[in-house]
Subunit: 234 residues, 2 copies
Amino acid sequence: MPTEHTYKQFDTDLENMRARVLQMGGLVEQQITQAMEALVNADFVLADQVISNDHLVNALEVGIDEDCAQIIARRQPTASDLRMVMTVVKTITDLERIGDEAAKVARMAREIHQNGRIYQPKFNQIEFMGTIVLEMLHKALDGFARLDATTAIEVCRSDVQVDEEYHLVLRNLITYMMEDPRTISIFIDIMFVAKAIERMGDHAKNMSEYVVYMVKGKDVRHTTVEEIERTASN
Amino acid sequence: MPTEHTYKQFDTDLENMRARVLQMGGLVEQQITQAMEALVNADFVLADQVISNDHLVNALEVGIDEDCAQIIARRQPTASDLRMVMTVVKTITDLERIGDEAAKVARMAREIHQNGRIYQPKFNQIEFMGTIVLEMLHKALDGFARLDATTAIEVCRSDVQVDEEYHLVLRNLITYMMEDPRTISIFIDIMFVAKAIERMGDHAKNMSEYVVYMVKGKDVRHTTVEEIERTASN
């Protein structure tokens, strides 16, 4: 029979696991912020830092996955505790992929600025996309920390906005390329930066959908924004 | 105490879960094959079929996730059984994302051919990439079915090849665009097809890394191809 001590230990294990997810989330937020700064300010030192810090994100993913397997094996969680562990397993995969995209942005920042080829104003829209995505990630992590499913509503709405911005950016970049074909290479690099940011948004959306599952016990992936709103606010 | 009956039921549950993963894998293979056919033959009917079948892939992901949670809650697996369940949870996420990319290729096929804008030969390289990626997925699923970690070696090597092909395609497309800027839009669509296929390769690689973890009990994500070779063949 589990003793009171066992229960306490279980709560501590779950609490530690949650804390590590939030630590990983904070690191990934920092990676995005710095990757965007590196891009906008042509800061090579910062770009290199983001690229070399990616392994910290990866190590956290591997470590937290181990924690989850150990909690399942030793503590045999059920119901909402099990949902939390499953949510963590999924969440850290998306966090790690956001980290990959941030490192990709940092690598593109190096590429784009390598010959001092680019002029500032072209990054306004991309910066704006980055700001929205950072907010989305922050809200998804906040929902996870406070067991608050309603944050998913805002995150999913913002994802629609990011997709729209992305298509605007794409259209503008194509116009620039057509105006001056010598710029094609560089604008394709910038296009892949926009794509990376758009994908970060998708991952943040996934994370907030897992929070709805964790809190409400209902899987809302592959449904509509309206369905997520209904489930999250019930 | 678990009875013999309980053990048998547990084995059946695990077997069913594995069978559903392979069913999902087969469906995703078909989605890729048909999306590539739709692209190369300008087949709109097939493209629409791939797009509308994406929900079947999604439904399998959600269903298998439920199975996994139930197996953990009711059967409390440990050691290699637990590793298998964790592997399935991760694998189906990647399978679902490959399915998304296949649907994206089908949507791009529609877009690319809508005005009969494109001539055949440009797809040779892309088709070749698609063939390699299909093989990678097949080997990853095969490794999963036969608990064979060594398939990961070939899958990881092929992923390097896909990345190289992808960069060749990118370079060629940029050359075409520079030669005739009116083609920029269309070649950017084709670029995103190449990108989608390259990502399928990444996901297949992830899947084969999970197989190594499942069989060998060692997490080889974020390591080198050499490290994966060492672990898989030991």
